[in-house]
């Protein structure tokens, strides 16, 4: 047998030789390393362990050039097979280091409870567990809502403990600093609406109504909706990550032991900031969107700028902006709630912070769309 294998293709080999009637010797040779091509323990089993009357397995390793954990996993597997077939595993012939590591690896028996049972749950079990989880999530949400309402009550009575500096800072971060992205998105949305409308309205020679279409949809719907979605992705995620990191770092515990309620100190300023900033951003988005529509109207449909302006004024009423503003305020509260809720629920690991941020965005957007639908139906009933 050739013990020296080419360096380019490291290879470990074994040969089983007969020593006595009831003893077989495994001769290990070559490179028993992770990169090498290696025989499996099952081969040894097939060659000798299955034979009757074999009582002992010994080793010979004088030709073994190199070894690492690959050899150990092979030997552990072989030892297990030997134990099953009640064959003695005689490790005396193995290198000294290998013997010691084998002793170390088998010194403490496997902790039976440590290995997680990965049994497949039946559909009913899964359904039941989901129902329980959902009840718990709803319960947690209600508790959180209650705490926020109480904190808000304290704030109105001037007794909430929070730092006004924080409030201003969050307002700046979530308001002024969101202007560029809100400008871009709402301008493009206005532009897109105008394009879509122009193609249809041109067939009736009614291009001028592009102004009505863009004005009304921006003011009543799209301004608030686009601002809400931008803020959910931008600020809701940031809130969840900030609060989540504070939970992981025990900073919220430190607040509690100082007698400060995290809901008052952390959640309230964030909610107040978004309650004020989202409606303002929403008005801004309405105007920029209308500007985007005007660019299409004037540039492509050859309407006069003054004519477009007059048409927009005559189509829009103050109530249309109020409708959008109410939506914006509601969205602001919901985004802040979703972000803070997921942040405060954050587990104590780095990946939990990421999950909290993701969940905050998803929750925020779902709540925005659902509340938008509800508000639209209410407006319809009220004839607004």
């Amino acid at each position: 047998m050739d013990a020296i294998t080419p360096a380019t293709h490291p290879q470990g080999t074994l040969t089983v030789t007969r020593h006595a009637v009831d003893t077989r010797c495994v001769r290990l040779a070559g490179q028993w390393t992770i990169q090498a091509a290696l025989p499996s323990a099952a081969e040894v089993q097939a060659q000798c362990l299955d034979a009757p009357r074999i009582r002992r397995l010994s080793f010979e390793a004088s030709d073994l050039a190199d070894w690492d954990s690959a050899l150990l996993t092979f030997l552990l597997k072989l030892k297990e097979l030997c134990d099953q077939s009640q064959v003695e595993f005689d490790q005396a012939g193995l290198p000294h280091g290998v013997q010691r590591l084998l002793v170390l690896a088998t010194a403490v028996p496997e902790h039976q409870e440590a290995r997680r049972a990965s049994q497949r749950a039946s559909l009913l079990v899964w359904l039941g567990q989901s129902a329980i989880a959902m009840t718990e999530a709803t319960y947690a949400l209600l508790i959180f809502l209650g705490q926020v309402v109480l904190a808000f009550g304290q704030f109105i009575r001037g007794r909430a403990r929070l730092r006004t500096v924080d409030l201003w800072l969050i307002m700046q971060q979530s308001g002024a600093q969101a202007l560029p992205i809100v400008s871009l998105i709402s301008f493009l949305v206005g532009l897109i609406l105008a394009f879509m409308g122009a193609n249809q309205l041109r067939q009736f020679d009614a291009q001028i109504y592009v102004a009505n279409l863009v004005g009304l949809s921006m003011a009543r719907e799209m301004g608030a909706m686009m601002t809400g979605i931008i803020m959910a992705g931008r600020t809701g995620a940031a809130f969840a990550a900030q609060l989540g990191t504070m939970v992981v770092n025990q900073e919220t515990d430190a607040l509690i032991t100082m007698g400060l309620k995290p809901v008052e100190f952390l959640v309230l300023p964030r909610m107040l900031a978004l309650m004020l900033m989202v409606p303002l951003l929403c008005i801004y988005a309405d105007l920029v969107g209308i500007l985007g529509g005007a660019v299409v109207g004037v540039g492509m449909l050859h309407l006069g700028a003054a004519q477009y302006y007059q048409q927009t004024l005559s189509a829009l009423h103050l109530m249309d902006f109020v409708v959008g503003l109410i939506k914006g305020t509601v969205f602001g509260v919901l985004i802040a709630l979703a972000g803070c809720l997921r942040g405060m629920q954050c587990g104590r690991s780095a990946s939990a912070v990421g999950a909290a941020a993701t969940s905050a965005v998803v929750t925020g957007i779902v709540w925005i769309i659902v509340s938008d639908a509800i508000l639209t139906v209410i407006y319809d009933i009220l004839w607004i």
């Binding site: 403990r161 730092r163 900030q242 990191t245 504070m246 770092n249 025990q250 900073e251 515990d253 430190a254 607040l255 509690i256 032991t257 100082m258 007698g259 400060l260």
Partner: protein, 256 residues
């Protein structure tokens, strides 16, 4: 043991059982801490030392039992009452838990702003004093992330002392510190106890700290899920016959 009744002790933990849901961490803990003690909560990893601390400082409600501070219950009262009691504590968390969005000065000033009517300049003086006490004079405008681990721990200590608490709680103060910094922190703790007259409750498994500064202790065991020894750690080392306690206090060296 002093002659007074145990429930009159400075801190009296009575029949405390701690659990996460149905998983019991420790059951039926009863011990008392006297004023001026440096009380050590010790035991192997995962036996519930930090959880016990969370129960003592009011962060986690016990499954059963109560904690009394000078005879006043912490858990059998309304949350307002509990918060008033909690204001007498200073807590140094394992990760220091400084508020990362605030400077050191703001961190220490926050409790003062919230609970006193002091003018900003008076608060500034107090903040400077607390920072000077922990050897961080002049670091008011630094953010926690700009400091080393040892400095963060000391700043956390300064914040814990902001309201001149009666009782200081430490969760593994020397975890992650080099031997010299950890020794200096021990000296600082001792100094603060002597000069401020505070009582100190400390979770640690730093043997050197336990044996040098501890005056009383409780030993929690993860297997039997309860306390298996209490008393002065030096005495425990000399007199205890419990193999687990002896092993812990001698680092498993049978000849010690």
């Amino acid at each position: 043991m002093p002659a007074e009744r145990p429930q009159d002790a400075h801190i009296f933990v009575h029949n405390l059982t701690m659990a996460y849901g149905s998983l019991v961490i420790q059951r039926e803990l009863t011990f008392s801490v006297q004023r001026g003690d440096i009380f050590i909560i010790m035991g192997g990893s995962g036996c519930g030392k930090s959880t016990l601390l969370r129960h003592l400082v009011g962060l986690q409600a016990p499954a059963q039992g109560d904690v009394l501070y000078d005879g006043q219950s912490l858990w059998q009262v309304e949350s307002d009452e509990r918060e008033r009691l909690m204001r007498r504590f200073g807590v140094l968390y394992q990760s220091a838990a400084l508020w990362s969005s605030m400077t050191l000065g703001e961190n220490i000033a926050l409790p003062l702003e919230q609970y006193t009517d002091l003018s900003p300049s008076r608060i500034g003086e107090l903040v400077a004093l607390k920072l000077a006490l922990v050897g961080l004079a002049g670091f008011e405008d630094y953010y926690p992330s700009e400091l080393s681990g040892g400095m963060q721990k000391r700043a956390g200590l300064a914040r814990a002392m902001a309201l001149d608490p009666d009782i200081l709680f430490f969760d593994e103060p020397s975890a992650g510190l080099d031997p010299i910094s950890s020794r200096r922190l021990d000296d600082l703790i001792l100094e603060l106890r002597d000069s401020l007259g505070a009582t100190i409750v400390m979770v640690t498994h730093e043997l050197a700290s336990i044996l040098t500064i501890g005056t009383n202790s409780v030993f929690l065991d993860a297997d039997s899920k309860t306390m298996i020894a209490q008393g002065d750690p030096k005495k425990l080392l000399a007199e205890s016959h419990d193999p687990k306690v002896r092993q812990f206090l001698t680092r498993g060296d049978p000849h010690a």
